[in-house]
C-alpha cells in the first residue's frame, strides 16, 4: 500500500510539474515578445501534423493487430453453417474495414491539410443536394446488399431442423451444463420444474418421478410434514425471522403440492417412455461429426447463454422458456487438433450471459467424434438411461415398467 501511495503522490506532483512547465514556457514566450498569432499558428501546424501522424499510428496499429490476431482466435469454423457464417463475416469485415480506412483517411488528411494558413480563406460551401444524394444512396445500396445476404443466412440458420436430426437438450444452472440425449426414440421426455429432486435433476415427467416428487415434498428433510411439526412444536424456540421464513416456505410448498397432485391426476403414462430412454450426460458433450443436431435449451435459475464459439452458434437459455438452435458439426476434435497444431485443443460450450460470481467457469467440453467412435460411445451409454438411473426417493408407488418400454421404443425408432 505504501508503494502505491508514493505512486499517487508522484503522479500528482508530475501533473503539477507539467503544468508549471507549461506556465513557464508561456510566460517566457510572452517575455520574448513573440507575436500571439505566430504562436497559435505554430501550435496549429504541429497539431495538424500530429493528426496525420495519429492516422498512421491508427492504421499501422490496426493492420498489425489484424495480421497478428485477426483470424487466430476464432479458428476455422467447425460447423456446416459456420462456413457460410465465416464467409459473410469476412465479407462484411472487408466492407467496414474499407469504409474505416477511407473515411478516417479523409478526416485526418483534411484535418492536417487544411490547417489555417495566412491569406487563405475558407471556402464558403454550405450545401449541395447532389452530394447529399450520393452519400445517401450509395450507403443505402451497400446496406441493401448486406441486409439481403445477412437475412438469407439468418433464415437458413434459424430454420427448422431436418426431421432426422438428433435431439439434445442442454440444461443450464449456476454454474454448469447438463446434456440430455433423446435416446433411441429421439424424443425428449417432457419436464416440469416442480418435479426437480436430487434423483431427477432435470425434472422429467414420469409416473414415478411425480410420485417421488410428492413423496419428497411431503416427507423429505424439509418437507411439509417436517415443517408443520417444527412450527407446531411449542418446545422449539425460533428467532422470529426464522419462523417467518419457515412459514413462507411451508405455504409455498403447500401450493406446489396441490399442483403436483393435479399433475398426478392428469398424468398419462404413455408419455413416460419418452423420458425413460433419455440419457443424461455431464461434463463432456459427445457429438457425432456430420450429423445435424437440434438443441433445445432450458435454464433452472437465471438466464444463461449457450455459446459454442467454434461452431458459430449461440442461444440464450431462459427460465420458463425453451429455446432452440441447430447445427451440424463437420470437423472432429482430432482433426481440429491437427489443423490448429495444438494437441490440447477442445471444443467448448461456454456460458455467455452474466449469471453470477462463477459465470466465467461455467462451461462444458465438447468432443466431436467420427461416426464409428460415436456409435461405440453411445452403445455403452444406452444402459445408463434415465429409467435405469432414476432411483425414487423410497417412493411407495414407483413401479418398474421397463419390459413394456423396450418394445415401444423399437417401434418408435422405426
Amino acid at each position: 500500500m505504501g508503494s502505491k501511495l508514493i505512486a499517487i503522490v508522484v503522479i500528482v506532483l508530475g501533473v503539477i510539474a507539467i503544468a508549471q512547465l507549461v506556465r513557464m514556457y508561456e510566460l517566457s514566450s510572452k517575455l520574448s515578445k513573440k507575436c500571439e498569432s505566430d504562436f497559435n499558428s505554430r501550435d496549429n501546424n504541429m497539431n495538424g501534423k500530429l493528426l496525420f501522424g495519429f492516422m498512421l499510428f491508427q492504421f499501422i496499429g490496426f493492420i498489425y493487430l489484424m495480421l497478428k490476431y485477426g483470424w487466430t482466435g476464432r479458428g476455422e469454423s467447425a460447423s456446416v453453417h459456420g462456413d457460410t457464417y465465416d464467409w459473410l463475416l469476412n465479407l462484411n469485415l472487408w466492407i467496414v474495414i474499407g469504409v474505416f480506412f477511407i473515411t478516417n483517411f479523409l478526416l485526418f488528411w483534411f484535418g492536417s491539410k487544411y490547417v489555417k494558413k495566412p491569406g487563405v480563406p475558407a471556402y464558403f460551401y454550405s450545401h449541395d443536394n447532389k452530394l447529399e444524394l450520393i452519400w445517401t444512396v450509395v450507403p443505402a445500396i451497400v446496406l441493401a446488399v448486406i441486409i439481403i445476404l445477412g437475412l438469407r443466412t439468418w433464415n437458413d440458420i434459424t430454420d427448422d431442423a431436418d426431421k432426422d436430426s438428433i435431439n439434445i437438450e442442454l440444461f443450464s444452472k449456476q454454474f454448469d451444463w447438463t446434456a440430455r440425449y433423446a435416446g433411441e426414440d429421439n424424443l425428449l421426455g417432457k419436464f416440469d420444474y416442480k418435479l426437480t429432486t436430487d434423483a431427477n435433476e432435470l425434472g422429467l415427467i414420469t409416473a414415478a418421478t411425480i410420485d417421488s416428487a410428492i413423496y419428497n415434498m411431503e416427507n423429505g428433510v424439509s418437507g411439509i410434514k417436517t415443517l408443520e411439526k417444527k412450527l407446531n412444536d411449542a418446545q422449539l424456540m425460533m428467532a422470529p425471522d426464522d419462523r417467518e421464513a419457515m412459514v413462507t416456505d411451508l405455504s409455498r410448498k403447500q401450493r406446489l403440492i396441490r399442483l403436483l397432485y393435479q399433475m398426478r391426476e392428469k398424468h398419462d403414462n404413455k408419455i413416460d417412455a419418452m423420458a425413460h430412454d433419455d440419457i443424461i450426460q455431464k461434463d463432456t458433450l459427445f457429438l457425432c461429426v456430420d450429423k445435424e443436431y437440434e438443441f433445445t435449451f432450458r435454464a433452472k435459475d437465471v438466464i444463461h447463454s449457450a455459446y459454442f464459439p467454434h461452431f458459430r452458434a449461440q442461444m440464450n437459455t431462459v427460465p420458463g422458456l425453451t429455446t432452440r438452435f441447430k447445427f451440424t458439426p463437420d470437423i472432429t476434435t482430432a482433426e481440429m487438433r491437427t489443423k490448429m497444431n495444438n494437441p490440447k485443443f477442445s471444443y467448448v460450450l461456454m456460458c455467455n450471459k452474466i449469471c453470477g460470481g462463477a459465470h466465467y467457469k461455467m462451461k462444458m467440453i465438447i468432443v466431436v467424434l467420427p461416426k464409428k467412435e460415436y456409435d461405440k460411445w453411445m452403445d455403452a451409454k444406452k444402459a445408463d438411461n434415465f429409467l435405469s438411473k432414476f432411483a425414487p426417493a423410497s417412493a411407495p408407488a414407483a413401479v418398474e415398467e421397463a419390459p413394456v418400454l423396450t418394445d415401444s421404443t423399437v417401434v418408435a425408432g422405426n
Partner: protein, 607 residues
Amino acid sequence: MAVVAHEGHGHHDSHGDHGAHDHHEEGFVSKYIFSQDHKMIGKQFLMTAVFMGIIAMLLSILFRIQLAWPGESQDFLSFFLGETWAPGGVLKEDMYLGLVTIHGTIMVFFLLTGGLSGTFSNLLIPLQLGARDMASGFLNMLSYWFFFLSSIIMVVSLFVESGPAMAGWTIYPPLSALPQAISGSGTGMTLWLVSMTIFIASSLIGSLNYIVTILNLRTKGMKMTRMPLTIWAFFVTAILGVLSFPVLLSAALLLMMDRLAGTSFYLSDIIVGGEMLTNHGGSPILYQHLFWFLGHPEVYIVLLPALGLSSEIISTNSRKPIFGYRAMILSILAIGFLSFIVWGHHMFVTGMNPFIGSVFVFTTLLIAIPSAVKVFNYLTTLWRGSLILTPAMLFAIGLVSTFITGGVTGIILADSALDISVHDTYFVVAHFHIVMGMSAVFGMFAGVYHWFPKMYGKMMNTRLGYAHFWITIVGAYGVFFPMHFVGLAGAPRRYYDYSVYNEFDTNAFEMIMDLNVIVTVFAIIAALGQFLFLFNFFYSIARGPKAPQNPWNSNTLEWTTPVEHIHGNWPGELPTVHRWPYDYSKPGAENDFIPQNVPLKDGEVDH
C-alpha cells in the same frame, strides 16, 4: 457571505444593470446551491458528472487490473477495495461483476446522460436561443437535485455490505430479481433501482423543460431553421428521453414488484439456491423488451448532444458553414425516429422469434444511412476549411473518428446472422465503447473546452488541452482496438478470468492474455491523462486568464452575453436574430464570421 463567494468565484453580478428584469440581492444558497439560474445549474451538472466520471473511471481501472493480471495480488486493489472485496489484493468474483455493473451504469446514465445533456442543454439552450432562462427555473433546479440525489444513492450502493448491484448495467432478471442468485441482488440492487427511479424523474423533468423552452422561448427571428445544430440535437434528445425513460421506469417498477411484492412479471419456473419458487408465467424476455425500448434510444440520447456540440465546434473552427445544415437536421430527426424501432437487435439470440429478428435487422441497418450522411457532412465541412485546431476542435475531430470506427462495427452486430457468434463478446464491448462511450466523451470534452469561457469566464490552458487530447485519443484507440480482436476470438464479456481458456484452447488463451495486458496498460495511460484535464479544469476556474467576449469568433448568441454571468443573460433587450448561425467566411463579408444578431445587408441572401 455573498461577498466572499463573489470574490472566490470571480463573479461580479451586475445588479440592476439591465432594466428588463427586476433583480434582487441573491444569497449564497440561492446563487450557488439551490440556484434556478440555468447557467449555474449547468455547471452543477458538470461538476457532479465530473465527480461521477472519476469514480466510474477508477472502477474500470480496478477491474482492468484483474483482467490483465488475474489472481495476482495488487496493492492498488486492496487499497481501494479493502479486505472485504479484495482479500490479499485479489479481486473477488462477485465484486468484479459489481465494478463492471456500476462502471457501466455511471458512465451511461450519470456521466453521458446527466452530465452531457444536463450540462450543455442547460447552459446552451437559453443562451443560444436568446432566452432569459429555462421555461421553468424551479423545475430545472428540481431536475438537478434529483440528479444529485440519485448520484449519491448510486455511490452509496458501492459501500453496502452485500455489495452493489452485480447483474450488469442492463440488470436482466431473474439474476437481478433473486438475492439468492448473487449477493449484489440484495440491498445493492434495491438501491440501484431507487437511484435510477430518481434519475429518471430528473431526466424527465429536465427534458420536458428543454422541449418547452426550445418551442416557446426562442427570441425574435430565431426560426426553427435558424437554430444552431446543438439545439436541434438537444431538442431531439429531450424528445427521445421523454418517450423512452418512462418505459425504463415501468420496467424498473415491475422488477421492484417481483423483488418485493412476490409478483411474477419476469419470473417463471425457477429453482434457485435449492428453493423452488412458485412464480409461474412471467417472462424475462419481457424485461429485455422494456429495457431496450429505452436502452436503444438511450444510445442516441448519449450520442446526439455530442454530435450537436461537435457540429457547432467543427463549423466554427473550420471557419466554414456546416455542410448540409438541413441534411444534418433531417439526419438527426431520422436517427431519433429510427432509434425507437431497433431495440430488438440487442435480443437476436434471446429466443425471440427469428422473423421479428429480421425486421429489426432491417430497421437497424437503416440507421447507418443518416449516420453516414452526418459523417460525410463533417468531412465536407473540414474540406477546404481554414482549420483552427483548438483542443475543442481536436476533440470534435476525434469524435468523428470514433463515430466512424465504432459505427462500422455496428453493421456487423446489427446483422442478426453475424451477431450470433459475436453477441455478448468483447466485440460488442469494443463497439459500443468506441461509438457511444468515446464519441460522447470526446463530444463532452470538446464542449467543455469550447464553452469553458462561457461557463467560468476564464480560458483553459491550451497546451494542457493538447496533451490531454493526444493522450486520450491514443489511449482510447489503444484500449478499444485490441478489444475487437479479443471479441472476434469469441471471448465472452463479463468474465472475471480468462485463464479458463487454458483448459481448452491454449492459443486463444495466450492471445487473449496478451491483448488484455495491452488494453489495461493503455487504459491506465488514458486514465492518468485525465488528471491533466482535471488539473487544467480546476486550475483554470481559479486562476485561468480572463476570457474575451467572443474567444472563438463564433456566430451564436451565447457569445453576445457579457462574460460575467448575470441573471437573465442579456442586459437590456434580448437580441434579435437575422440569419442562420453558420455564416462563416461568407464571400463579401468583412470578417470571417457574422453573428446571428447582425442584420442582413442589402442584397444579402439568407442561407
